[in-house]
């Protein structure tokens, strides 16, 4: 079965030449797009058109194009990663759009993620949070056999649920407070569910939350918007766990 063709769509996209430059929206017409095309392939086609027309193509982040590396971003028609659920922008297909539609494409709008160019943003802040405590302090070698400590299957599964976070930033981009709580909670929660993570649990929760605050992410007011936007369905139950971990850590100060 062949996919339907969209004869004409309009792409209204944020253009900004550099971090300090003033940005603006520009609208482009794209013709003849198969609905089987992915959203980013549609942008590829638009970019080809721009280049051939002597214009600068739209800079956007992407890499794996299969929903796992977390590189792609984009706020599409008011939704992080677009109107489909449980997918990243790179997995979004043109089936979700209609003939003649205007599609608005913006970068993540988070203070801690400054625009680099067009819809490409700088997520170094996420790196700094991970460097502050997102690890178990073991060196290579000299560790016990993998089966020394049995782990409840349910705990391992829950740890895996949390560990599925791809670090895309959609949670912070969706949150009205620009909070990175879901992202931080995912890491803290993964380790909280595993015996290997216990030793440093208190230090980790405190260090990661402190770093998040320091970098200018907002506080969490439990709106739950992040969970809905998250392409990996990371649950806000992890935020509750992070809060518990954090409280315990603070109490023992």
């Amino acid at each position: 079965m062949a996919d339907k063709i969209l004869n004409k769509i309009y792409v209204k996209v944020w253009r900004q030449n550099s971090p300090k430059a003033k940005g603006r929206f520009e609208t482009y017409t794209v013709e003849n797009i198969s609905q089987g095309t992915s959203f980013l392939e549609m942008i590829d086609i638009l970019n080809d058109q721009l280049i051939l027309g002597g214009k600068d193509p739209i800079a956007f982040d992407h890499d794996c194009r299969e929903g796992i590396c977390g590189m792609c971003s984009l706020y599409i028609n008011g939704h992080a990663h677009g109107p489909d659920t449980m997918v990243t922008t790179c997995q979004l297909h043109m089936r979700r759009f209609n003939e003649g539609q205007t599609i608005t494409v913006e970068p993540w709008r988070v203070g801690a993620f400054p625009v680099i160019k067009d819809v490409m943003v700088d997520r170094t802040a996420f790196e700094k949070i991970q460097q502050a405590g997102g690890f178990v302090s073991v060196n290579t070698g000299g560790v016990p056999d993998g089966n020394t400590i049995p782990i409840f299957q349910d705990d391992a599964e829950e740890a895996m649920d949390a560990a599925a976070c791809i670090g895309c930033g959609a949670c912070a981009a969706t949150c009205k407070n620009s909070s990175a709580m879901l992202f931080v909670a995912a890491k803290v929660s993964q380790f909280a569910k595993l015996p290997q993570g216990q030793v440093e649990a208190k230090r980790r929760a405190k260090a990661m939350v402190a770093k998040m605050d320091e970098l200018g992410f907002g506080g969490c007011t439990n709106t739950g918007a992040c969970e809905l936007a998250c392409p990996k369905s990371i649950s806000i139950a992890h935020i509750a766990r992070l809060n518990r971990e954090y409280l315990v850590a603070k109490l023992s100060d």
Binding site: G36, P57, D63, R65, G141, D145, F152, M160, A163
Partner: protein, 646 residues
Amino acid sequence: MSILNSNIPEGPISQKWSNHKAKIKVVSPANKRKLEIIVIGTGLAGASAAASLSELGYNVKAFCYQDSPRRAHSIAAQGGINAAKNYQNDNDSVYRLFYDTVKGGDYRSREANVHRLAEVSPNIIDQCVAQGVPFAREYGGLLSNRSFGGVLVSRTFYARGQTGQQLLLGAYSALNRQIGAGGVKMYTRHEMLDLVTIDGKARGIIARDMVTGEIKRFGAHAVVIASGGYGNVFFLSTNAMGCNASASWVCYKKGAFFANPCFVQIHPTCIPVHGSQQSKLTLMSESLRNDGRVWTPRKLEDAEKLRKGIIGPNDIADADRDFYLERRYPSYGNLVPRDVASRAAKERCDAGFGVNSEGKAVYLDFKYSIERLGRSTIEKRYGNLFQMYEKITDHDPYKEPMQIYPAIHYTMGGTWVDYNLMTTIPGLYAIGEANFSDHGANRLGASALMQGLADGYFVLPYTIGDYLAGEIMVPKIDTNLPEFIEAEKGVTTKLEKLFNIKGKTPVDHFHKKLGHIMWEYVGMARNAEGLTKAIKEIQELRVEFYKDLLVPGEMKNVNPELEKAGRVADFIELGELLARDALNRNESCGGHFRVESCTEDGEAKRDDENFAYVAAWEFKGVDSVPVLHKEDLVFETIHLTQRSYK
């Protein structure tokens, strides 16, 4: 006599690594602090190496082109990682993993390297568990295993369908700890564009800051290439968009030999190409072949009706379905190795039995296992893959068979390294998919992750000391030396050249053209005539590229088109070498199938007499023919036999 010295240690195979470790030199902690190492890439290989080297006390500078080390393409690996733990008590052992890998590689890998890989494999699992990698567990709390194609034991560890992600996040966390502690300086969005050698030794790199466009120099006492594979030379592959060969390629041009470029793995179960605008291909895990049956219609007229959309797969009765893998390979059936399954699919489609509008797809059908096991069992096993398939194709694989077709997936070839993982340039190392070492002509499933982490955690941190022990008197490398200035100038000139062509054709068009040539003549079935033609067409493409390329934007700003142009320029040269290597190797082995070398019933035929060697190519200039050096493969432990899956 070959000038290649593989430095394989003396002694029986099971003693070689221990003997070697006992003999190689060690650098004192005080001296480690004075030494610098550059690591290019932060996938499983690079991240594990950078973290481990920093833990030892070396000063590490790590580079990746993405905005975070966590996004390296290792993240996309689905199925699992092998290790000879024998947790299942099914008589697995280091020897068996070693044997399976050598056999699976169709006897074109180096025994000593493979044995070491098998030896260190159990440590990898321990390390990952200690880091908090959430591997799948049994009810009793112990680690769970699954089996993979081509082997008889259950030795694959996994974390749902996201094993690569979890292993990489483990290595990334170790790396982050070192970045936080100051032992690793991380350069994200930096692309290595040249290697700097001084007096024949690797001493640094030139990189472009992909945000500002600035060209920068970095010095070190050793350089490690962990930049992944070159599958994107085919344009369409299961690799990420940015995967490239440029880091390896500039090393090749500076004197590092490139080995077995023609050994490329084509994975049988990928979602077929649709239309002409597709940018990449998506893998459907090998594990699906455990429960899916592969078929095409038995009658040509049915295939025709399917292609036109007049009938659907469910309209074809069982008797009219040709389960060609089960027919041709009764003992392995749908679980034949990747190369065999891929060629069989191509054979059916070439014969006119392809089922999608392009005629380039076969069915992978779960109807039978759903009938046998129930939908919920299949959902538990493959739910996420089925969802991914449906999102991409808009078809429900619970209701009708998946369409699949082979696609480029992995590259066994790569930079030549000796037993220490050092290239032919002293002080330059290559690890992970970037080197050629352990998989011969075909890689077994779940073994790439194992190799990347083995190299980074447990091999390189030992072997690099042997070289660096001789460098302790060398002061911090001065990046104002003429060699650095010259290399930087070279990079700037190369970029300016690309930028100033100001032709009419954007880079993707050239990349697609290259991909077509590669897939057509250097793909699943190769012959001398086609390969010769490919070499000629690639050379012509290169000329056209430098005449008509159009790179928009600015040099000193974010410029993805400029990045791509540099990569494609290198891919064009690499494509030619790949075809040359394939032309030279007039035998069929593993993923390399020469039509001239097959049995009467069309199966691959190896030629051990003439080709039991590693082909290591030496660069002699872009317009000159490279020189072939042969490293003879000596099999002391394993007896060579023809593979059969009938």
